[in-house]
């Protein structure tokens, strides 16, 4: 993907295994969100292909990508401000459920899963940023996606909330949803990821299980740093 002469994503190629959690990390400006935009259809890539569930979805408009089952959240949250929290989630639920009654059930379910029941009748625009992030997740979840693409949903969460969010992602995975997760909060991502892809300056510099990634010299130099890498290595649950 090129913007004028700026190469935002160059020759990035990786697979996301069905039913896995794939982490996408890298320093600011590495091209993570651009990559998301290319996959979800917000941008039309200047070269390369996006394959999903057996179809070539390169350059499809976002709504078609979503209908096929690949749904994303936005890093800069986009709540439907003048609608209630519940109605926001309901819009997501209508993707798979055509009639109101079953859509209400699905919306109710993902609202509860994301612990938003207390805010159901509030206008989405009046939520705090943390709750808006959760709303993004609840809304995407309500579409019953095959692939859920999360763009920094855990940013700014406190310790306890982080634990909750990690449990939630694991539960979503257990329900058979594939996850592609952009995240800066390594302590949260590394323990749950099956695989991590690292971008830097628009190119892929590493790909592998978390244990390998935290030990990779290149990733330490580009992003993690010595001190932080040591801390991550101490985490026991990293997959190898």
């Amino acid at each position: 993907m090129k913007f004028g002469s700026l190469l935002a994503n160059h020759d990035i190629s990786f697979d996301v295994e069905e039913g896995s959690i794939t982490g996408l990390i890298g320093p600011n400006g590495a091209g993570k969100t651009t990559l998301f935009n290319c996959i979800s259809g917000a941008y039309k890539p200047t070269a390369g292909k996006v394959l999903f569930a057996g179809s070539d979805i390169t350059g499809w408009p976002p709504y078609r990508v979503a209908r096929l089952g690949a749904v994303r959240t936005f890093q800069v949250v986009r709540p439907l401000n003048d609608m209630s929290v519940f109605d926001n989630v309901l819009v997501g639920a209508f993707l798979r459920e055509r009639d109101l009654t079953s859509a209400l059930d699905v919306a109710e379910c993902s609202l509860r899963l994301c612990h938003l029941e207390d805010y159901r009748d509030k206008l989405a625009g009046n939520l705090t940023i943390g709750l808006k992030k959760r709303l993004e997740l609840a809304r995407a979840l309500a579409t019953q996606p095959k692939l859920l693409m999360l763009d920094e949903v855990m940013a700014g969460l406190s310790g306890a909330e982080l634990k909750e969010a990690m449990e939630l992602l694991k539960e979503i995975k257990a329900q058979g949803v594939t996850l592609l997760v952009v995240e800066h909060v390594m302590e949260a991502l590394m323990p749950i990821a099956d695989k991590v892809v690292v971008l830097d300056g628009g190119v892929k510099i590493a790909e592998g299980p978390p244990r390998e990634i935290v030990e990779s010299e290149r990733v330490i130099a580009a992003y993690l740093g010595e001190k932080f890498s040591r801390r991550l290595k101490e985490l026991k649950e990293l997959k190898t």
């Binding site: 976002p62 979503a66 709540p79 609608m83």
Partner: protein, 329 residues
């Protein structure tokens, strides 16, 4: 589901009250009062038709007088040129208005925000001029109704306004029921989603061009039906009567006054503006032609500053206030 059904009883109550209104003896019995009631119901319906696109879907159109006019000419042509009843003309006019709206808005919806509104301004002018010089539809002279048998078949009455009231009431029930159905249906949620954030909506699988076109077609269809009623009520039509920016503005302003994107906003807006318009006109005659608009302009300024959600905003504030007070007591 509890909050899904709320408002249903209110709707039935409002319909019920409006249904018996002409039977209540008292000041509402005079022909002028009845005329005002007919106009309130008509303009409430028109504004609701506009509200479907402008309020729920967020696409502000100043072109709705065109669809209104096409509906009026549909019924007018059927009666004046072809000697038929107005019914097939009204239906055909509504269908043509829908098609025209789609042809117009397909390119215009590529324009975002204000640019869409500006484009619709131009369309009113184009259609006004076109109908002015179009000999087949009567040109600048318009269409004058012949004197034919009165009754529901021809939808015209000379001596009484009561049937017109019930005609307007039927139109009102049709338009408001449609709006209420859409509001609780998938398409209604999608329309609001497109209004509040097109990108977010599309990320959830909403085909926003299609949603906007659907809203436009329904809105134009209903506006055209209102136009057909209007011509039957006035028994004549010419281009400035129906296809004018002035008429377009009424669709917009009544809805903004009442409350954009709310079910009962258009009725509230019309119930305030129309009596104001008709009574100032009756009192000051030709001299007072602009007085209603001056007052109306002031009202709009107050509303926009104090309560952007319109009169419905005030109503829900008062209701909420009382509910809170009851909760405490």
């Amino acid at each position: 589901m509890r909050h899904r059904q709320s408002g249903f009883g209110l709707g039935c109550t409002i319909f019920g009250i409006l249904a018996i209104l002409p039977l209540i003896p008292g000041p509402l019995q005079g022909p002028f009062a009845k005329h005002v009631l007919v106009m309130v119901l008509l303009f409430a319906s028109m504004s609701q038709a506009w509200n479907l696109l402008g309020g729920y879907c967020g696409q502000v159109s100043f072109g709705h007088s065109v669809f209104f006019g096409i509906g009026a000419y549909g019924a007018g042509m059927a009666v004046v040129k072809y000697g038929l009843t107005p019914w097939p003309g009204a239906l055909l006019g509504a269908i043509i208005a829908s098609i025209v709206s789609l042809v117009i808005s397909y390119p215009c919806f590529r324009l975002k925000g204000h640019y869409f509104a500006i484009a619709t301004f131009a369309i009113v002018e184009i259609f006004n001029r076109l109908f002015m010089v179009w000999y087949w539809v009567g040109g600048a002279l318009g269409l004058d109704y012949p004197i034919i048998e009165e009754g529901w078949r021809n939808f015209m009455w000379y001596e009484t306004k009561t049937p017109y009231y019930y005609g307007a009431f039927a139109l009102f029930v049709l338009v408001f029921s449609t709006a209420r159905w859409i509001e609780r249906h998938r398409i209604g949620y999608y329309m609001r989603a497109v209004r509040d954030g097109q990108e977010a909506a599309e990320s959830l699988g909403v085909n926003s061009p299609q949603v906007k076109l659907t809203a436009m077609a329904i809105s134009a269809f209903l506006a055209a039906l209102c136009g057909a009623f209007f011509v039957q009520y006035n028994l004549r039509v010419d281009p400035p009567m129906v296809m004018s920016l002035d008429m377009s503005m009424r669709f917009v302003l009544i809805t903004i006054l009442g409350g954009l994107g709310t079910l009962w906003g258009p009725l509230l807006g019309a119930a305030v503006l129309i009596p104001l318009q008709e009574y100032t006109r009756a009192i000051w005659g030709g001299l007072g032609g602009g007085v209603d608009l001056i007052i109306f302009g002031l009202l709009i300024i107050v509303i926009v500053i104090r309560q952007p959600r319109g009169l419905m905003g005030f109503v829900s504030w008062v209701v909420g206030h009382r509910a809170r007070a009851r909760g405490r007591g």
